[in-house]
């Protein structure tokens, strides 16, 4: 089997496996799996920028938040139906990403990290500033009746899961396709040697710009879905912590691998869940994992598997 075919079979297999797994799981884990898949879309989008393009953003929570508030605010205050609200949320995130990219891409490396962090912080504070509409840190609950698209009622766990599953499968196959396309190869080239890529005649700036927008749109779709599925919109989701999470998930799962974000999100989700049962200081786990990863396993789980055994993994 050619490596391309093998990879496609593997990823379709993972998708089929997720679908087969769901009915077998106890209710509690079914709910977890839904959340993991929604968040894995966020991680997958983060990976496009960090894993493939080599740009480390510390501000992706603003895109996740833009998706969530772009969906939630018009639903709450203008009575916008769920489907256009979902599209609007994703579009808000993509637009914000384009604006941030236009400015932040003038910098590189550590400056890019700090600029994205600062923009995200400003976005978070803006949410707090307009408390009248956003209800600040307390957030607001989306009415059950509004959370419907056609006949799908998102307050039903099964509907939530299968929609999350469809969204995640789309995201996964899109990135797989992207990674194999000319666009994806140029992103990797930029990550590996930006100056060389420019001097081969590639428009580095425009590729980076598109990568930020795609990444932001994925984050926004994830944030909008999260708000829609679980019916709550709050400022926590736009805080620094939610910028650190996708970095953590992607680093843990394997930056620059297609399956890494899913694996990292699932691992971290259960790790933090487990820590939450033990102590209120559960974010300690996140800190320890971050330090250990930088010290010992920069490639992450899937990255290490690729390095050791399966060189053909995309």
């Amino acid at each position: 089997m050619r490596p391309e075919t093998r990879a496609l079979v593997l990823h379709l297999g993972v998708i089929a496996g997720l679908a087969a797994l769901y009915p077998l799981l106890p209710t509690y884990h079914q709910g977890n799996l839904t959340r993991i898949l929604v968040l894995a879309i966020y991680a997958t989008g983060y990976n496009v920028l960090f894993g493939y393009t080599g740009l480390l953003s510390l501000g992706h929570a603003m895109f996740f938040g833009a998706g969530m508030y772009g969906l939630g605010l018009p639903m709450q205050h203008l009575g916008l139906p769920a489907l256009p609200a979902f599209v609007l949320g994703t579009a808000c995130a993509a637009t914000l990403a384009a604006a941030v990219a236009a400015l932040a891409l003038r910098t590189a490396g550590v400056a890019f990290m700090i600029v994205t962090l600062m923009f995200s912080q400003a976005a978070f504070l803006t949410i707090l500033y307009f408390t009248t509409w956003t209800r600040g840190e307390e957030g607001f609950v989306l009415a059950r009746g509004a959370r419907r698209i056609a006949g799908l009622d998102f307050s039903t766990p099964d509907v939530r899961f299968w929609t999350a599953f469809a969204l995640f499968a789309t995201a996964l196959l899109l990135t797989l396709w992207m990674a194999r396309s000319r666009f994806g190869h140029v992103l990797v080239a930029i990550r590996e040697n930006e100056e060389r890529t420019r001097m081969l005649g590639y428009d580095v700036q425009s590729h980076k710009f598109r990568a930020v927008v795609i990444s932001g749109a994925f984050a926004g779709a994830s944030g909008a879905a999260y708000g829609l599925f679980f019916g709550y919109v709050g400022a926590t989701f736009a805080s620094v912590q939610y910028s650190i999470f996708p970095l953590l998930w992607v680093l843990l799962g394997g930056a620059g691998t297609i399956l890494g974000p899913l694996v990292g999100t699932a691992f971290m989700f259960y790790l933090i869940n487990w820590a939450q049962d033990l102590t209120s200081a559960y974010m300690l786990v996140a800190g320890v994992v971050l330090v250990l990863l930088t010290l010992f396993a920069r490639a992450g789980i899937v990255g290490e598997i690729r390095k050791r055994w399966l060189g053909w993994l995309p």
Binding site: M113, T126, A281, V288, T294
Partner: protein
């Protein structure tokens, strides 16, 4: 008698904030200047200083001054040692790679913050000031009956707040003397200028890095000990000083010590003044946007030289 006195008060509050901020940001700037890495856990060393001050004061008891003086020595020392251990265990092992260091120090941030939550708890706890007499301020104004002296007019400050300002100035001067007059200061500046040459001249760069990282953390802890009698110790208190220090160091020009101090005064004062008259959230939004735009359009900082 409305606007004027409030402005004076705001400036005074701003000066206290600026003094503490200058010390904290100096630590961050020093680490960036010499080691070329960004320490995201810097705010947690500030928090550690405040929490240590509480532990020391609680353990020693007696007159608050005794605990305070002990804390002034012990808290920076503990923060410094922990920072040096982190440098040796983590930063050295990732070769001070700028991006890896940021990720690793984010990890350290959570480790320290959450450890404080476990060991110190979620409460905010006050530390008693060593002295705290109220000082009423006089106010002179041209009123209906000519020049009038209002004293006391209801508002004032405390002796401790004035002490914080003076102490910070003394510490900054001492630090400047340390940098320019001592052998270690010279070694540090040499390492900052050119790591390779410093190595060639037999400067133990790794030791210098560990000491600088420790010194940066100690400065943050020291600043926190000074402020904790005014502001309570809490495990989440590291966020604001980190953000403000970032702002100061970037506006002042990355790694420029003079720029850092000027920017600390500017930001600290305006943060104090703006917060009195406007919403502090709005002030922070503007400050963070300003920093982002400075980095985008003038990365050498407002005060720094042109980039080389």
């Amino acid at each position: 008698m409305e606007f004027g006195p409030h402005l004076v008060l705001a400036i005074l509050e701003g000066a206290v904030g600026a003094a503490v901020l200058a010390l904290t940001a100096l630590g961050l700037s020093l680490v960036f200047g010499v080691m070329r890495v960004v320490n995201v856990a810097h705010g947690e060393f500030f928090m550690l200083g405040a929490v240590m001050a509480w532990f020391v004061a609680a353990a020693i008891g007696g007159h608050p001054a005794v605990g305070f003086i002990a804390a002034l020595v012990i808290a920076p020392l503990v923060a410094g040692v922990i920072a040096m251990a982190a440098d040796w265990l983590v930063l050295k092992r990732v070769n001070y790679d700028p991006e890896a260091t940021i990720v690793a120090t984010i990890g350290l941030l959570y480790i320290m913050q959450q450890s404080a939550l476990m060991l110190y708890g979620p409460e905010a706890r006050p530390v008693e000031a060593p002295f705290n007499s109220r000082i009423a301020l006089p106010w002179v104004e041209w009123g209906e009956a000519g020049l009038q002296l209002y004293y006391p007019w209801g508002f004032g400050t405390t002796s401790y707040k004035l002490f914080v300002i003076v102490a910070a100035v003394v510490l900054l001067l001492a630090f400047w003397a340390f940098l320019s007059r001592t052998r270690f200061g010279l070694v540090m500046r040499a390492t900052q200028l050119d790591r390779e040459t410093a190595l060639a001249f037999g400067i133990p760069v790794e030791t210098v890095y560990a000491l600088v990282f420790g010194l940066g953390a100690a400065l943050a802890a020291l600043a926190a000990v000074l402020i904790v009698p005014i502001q309570q110790a809490h495990y989440l208190m590291g966020g604001d000083p980190l953000l403000l220090s970032f702002i100061v160091v970037i506006i002042g020009g990355l790694g420029s010590i003079r720029g850092t101090i000027v920017a600390a005064l500017l930001i600290g004062m305006s943060d104090g003044v703006i917060s009195v008259f406007f919403s502090p959230t709005l002030a922070k939004i503007l400050a963070t946007l300003l920093v982002a735009l400075v980095l985008v359009f003038r990365p050498q900082g407002l005060y720094g030289k042109t980039a080389t």
